[in-house]
Amino acid sequence: MERDMTVKSIPLAATSSGARKATDLAAALTNWRVLLSIAALCLLPWVLPSKALAVNVLVYGVLAMGYNLLFGYTGLLSFGHAAFFGAGAYVTGIAIGQFGVPWYGAVLLGVIGGGLLALAIGALSIRTRGIYFSMVTLALAQLVYHVALQASSWTGGENGLRGFTVAKIDIAGFSINFLDPVSKYYVLMVFAALALWFVSRILNSPFGAAIEAIRENETRARTCGYDVERTKLISFVLSGLICALAGTMSALHLAFVPLDVLHYQTSGMIVMMTLLGGASSFFGPFVGALAFLLMEDVFSLWTSHWQIIVGSIFILFVLFLPKGIWGTFLARVVR
């Protein structure tokens, strides 16, 4: 079974066919994507039913965006990204709670920690291909889960990591009440904005072109002179860094790190969000995170069996809308 290149498209690539207006819209969406995203995020807490849900959209949006760098843009289906999310959260929590590191230092350490773990897991798994890669990342991430479970003096084990509540954040003489949901949202939104900017930067950079080339046609990319393995590993680590940032955001938000962040179900959720929103599109992961969390919210109010609905919707997307919500929107409406 050949890998079909048409499944994952780059909806933002401009075309000469189609209505001129639509092309302008597509171009505007691309050129202003970071600012547009930030504008949308600014409004988010006021349109969603709760601020906590809005913060979750930030956290999981960043997480899915980091994941999308690898899955959507580099074409590698990892099933172990919970490890980097969790690493970011745990390192941040441990740094604050056990070493008294100030919050900004802890965030930095969290991101670095996640990146180092990504380097280790990436180095091991990048040598494998296709489905093997998915299974190996899954299994290595489960190993991390079990190590965190055993190392309870550091991680709190099954009880989860706690005791690092950040009540206020001091920046340049200002003191922000971090327990206030609105302030917390906008502080964390700054992180999300940085992540959006960073990912947009990567995608616009020569490196961004290189990973897309590898996704499109690995053989040809190698023939063109790309060291494919090295490029994939860098992409893996960058993706891990962003997912770790999402982890640190989650830790600051909840003041708690549940062991579940490392479980493969979390990895599965990241995949679902990314695919629902639209892999290999810039807005897709945030759209997916929003759609998934809203769906979970709405359906779990109707029935405790919401997973059957979410699972069915996911199946339908895989079968009929592999471009996800945003990708389909771009393909059908914008073009």
């Binding site: 890998r3 079909d4 289906l77 091991l124 299974m135 069996h305 979410v310 699972g311 895989v318």
Partner: protein, 288 residues
């Protein structure tokens, strides 16, 4: 630590390995033939246990459950292949994996709706209760029975693959589906049947596990991971690999239990990481 304990521990490892083998085998068969990683394998294992229980409750006999449930769920697996997996052939290799991942959510929740969240008792069949003295220690008769069943299934599978016309088609088809087509074989039908057999094996694993463990909607989630680890160690798609790796993991866990039983799960993953470092394609995996 005496020799007797080490011997019985070794035996426990082999017995545990037999259970791991049966859980990994279906996954491996489906991958070997269709190139599909069935993420719903664990859920189907669980459904197998429920189906076994259901048939047993209708007929009043465990034996009917053991016989009928795998066939029933196997047919259900064929429906899954036909309805859901088949449209994805020719698309990205990731798609069947993603689809079956979604399917596992649906199946687990469906069982919760029908049978509830609690477990359900699955008593050991009365003919197989009790323990047997193996000379070096005691072992439940039911587990000995499971080892026998696994051995018989392996033997039957081997015979079916090596000695029958269908087995010949499967062996050849997993290596070269195109040549089978030009020799008149409708390879889609073969894939359908193989998917059914793989799912049936998952269900058989579930029925066998029922009397050893509690039957509940979550019983498949760890099984899926175990099956993954075993197939990765053995080499994806290699049946012999699954058998060897399953026994290896079982023995590794039981030997660990002599020193640090709490590390049982970690040992399984560590073993896998080690194998990957030395042989990225698994012990019996073929080069790409």
């Amino acid at each position: 630590m005496d020799a007797e304990l080490i011997l019985i521990q070794l035996f426990s490892g082999v017995a545990l390995g037999a259970i791991l083998v049966i859980t990994a085998l279906g996954l491996s068969i489906i991958f070997g033939m269709l190139g599909v990683v069935n993420f719903a394998h664990g859920a189907l294992f669980m459904i197998g246990a429920y189906a076994g229980l259901w048939v047993a409750s209708l007929t009043g006999s465990f034996w009917w459950g053991l016989l009928v449930a795998p066939i029933m769920i196997g047919v259900f697996g064929m429906a899954i292949e036909w309805l859901l997996v088949r449209p994805l052939y020719g698309r990205s290799v990731d798609d069947p994996l993603l689809l079956t991942f979604g399917l596992s959510y649906v199946l687990v929740e469906a069982v919760r709706i029908v049978f509830g969240n609690d477990g359900i008792p699955f008593p050991t069949p009365s003919q197989l209760t009790g323990v047997a003295n193996l000379g070096v220690g005691y072992f439940p008769i039911y587990r000995l029975f499971v080892i026998v069943v696994v051995a018989v299934v392996l033997l039957l599978l081997w015979l079916a693959l090596e000695k029958t016309k269908f087995g010949l088609i499967v062996r050849a088809g997993s290596r070269d589906p195109t040549i089978m087509r030009v020799l008149g074989v409708n390879i889609s039908k073969v894939w359908l049947l193989v998917f059914g057999v793989g799912v049936g094996l998952a269900a058989l694993g579930g029925v066998l596990a029922g009397p050893m463990r509690t039957v509940n909607p979550e019983m498949g989630s760890l099984v899926l991971i175990e099956a993954f680890v075993v197939t990765v160690i053995g080499g994806l798609g290699s049946l012999l690999g699954s058998v060897v790796a399953g026994l290896l993991v079982g023995v590794a866990i039981s030997m660990t239990a002599l020193f640090a039983p709490e590390m049982g799960t970690i040992v399984m993953f560590a073993l896998m990481a080690l194998v990957l470092l030395v042989r990225p394609r698994g012990l019996f995996g073929k080069a790409a």
